[in-house]
């Protein structure tokens, strides 16, 4: 509710109330932290996919094991991607 009043109403009529600004600032920081976390997780999963491929090419894991790990990691990657998309859809801030 405070977010709604601050961003969609007060800012539209040119008013700024410091506590609401602070809430907006905290929300923005939280968004950035979450965004970096999702990117970091995505990078870690991609590295794991590459490492799994490497182990397969070295002959240290079997084709079945490689397929199993690869499918699990790709599922994780897709889920993580979906989470980041949902997050973006929710947070379209048109006034700032």
């Amino acid at each position: 509710m405070p977010f709604f009043i601050d961003d969609f109403f007060l800012r539209m009529i040119g008013l700024s109330i410091p506590p609401f600004d602070m809430i907006w600032l905290l929300e923005t920081i939280t968004d950035h932290v979450n965004d970096s976390r999702v990117k970091e997780i995505q990078q870690r999963i991609i590295s794991e996919i590459k490492e799994t491929r490497l182990l397969f090419e070295l002959g240290e894991i079997t084709k079945e094991e490689y397929a199993k790990r690869n499918s699990r990691l790709n599922h994780q990657r897709l889920m993580n991607k979906r989470v980041s998309r949902i997050h973006l859809d929710q947070r379209i801030n048109i006034l700032s």
Partner: protein
């Protein structure tokens, strides 16, 4: 409702006329070249879908480029690049004409070769200096046989070197011999040697919201 058809963009080549490469594209679609002032975009018709970065899809993308490479020097496009229609594609070719020609000149008669040096499971270096000297020796020996080299990310703690080299087609055998020599020299390391690839790590076309980006390293 059927999705609108776009053009899946594989790579750019030097070519003045329309040309077909057969049904080797994504979803077994026909791959053909659309020419514009000395260069051409190698494309296939495709729905405006997001292609997932799966092994099958990337292999298919790479196979098309590899086949085109047999006859032409290529500037590869980023995986999953789909252009809405031919008019927009021609506009892109017009805008990117000069940088693409420059890139094609750089990679003419060249291939990319990949080398990874991996520590065997229980092998370790005596100290950091020994590790550094070993990496530098491998890199310098291989750089001497190549026109250019770039290093990639070390995504595993056992991976001590991940590099790509731009090598003249006639120099591939000599390069392979050098890799074999290094493999004999460093018994605690396993070398993974791959290629020839399209020069993805040296020149590429990326089309995004910021416009067309032609990268030459």
């Amino acid at each position: 409702m059927e999705k609108e058809k776009g053009k899946y963009f594989y790579c750019a080549i030097r070519c003045n006329k329309e040309k077909s490469f057969g049904k080797i594209g994504m979803n077994s679609s026909l791959v053909y070249a659309i020419p514009y002032r000395g260069i051409a975009a190698v494309v296939s018709d495709s729905p405006m879908n997001d292609y997932e970065l799966t092994e099958d899809n990337t292999t298919r993308h790479e196979e098309v480029i590899r086949q085109v490479m047999e006859e032409h020097a290529v500037v590869p496009a980023e995986f999953g690049t789909i252009i809405k229609n031919e008019t927009i594609l021609r506009r892109i070719l017009k805008k990117a004409n000069d940088p693409t020609k420059e890139c094609l000149k750089l990679v003419d008669n060249m291939v990319e070769l990949g080398v990874k040096a991996i520590l065997y499971e229980n092998a370790v270096f005596a100290d950091a200096k020994q590790r550094k000297d070993c990496i530098s020796d491998i890199l310098e020996s291989l750089k001497a046989m190549a026109k250019q080299a770039v290093t990639g990310d070390l995504f595993s703690y056992r991976l001590i070197l991940n590099a790509s080299f731009l090598v003249n087609k006639e120099g591939v055998d000599a390069f392979s011999n050098e890799v074999a020599r290094l493999q004999n020299k460093y018994s605690s390391l396993k070398f993974l040697y791959s290629g020839p690839w399209a020069p993805h790590n040296f020149v590429y076309i990326k089309i995004g919201t910021d416009g067309v980006e032609i990268t030459k390293k």
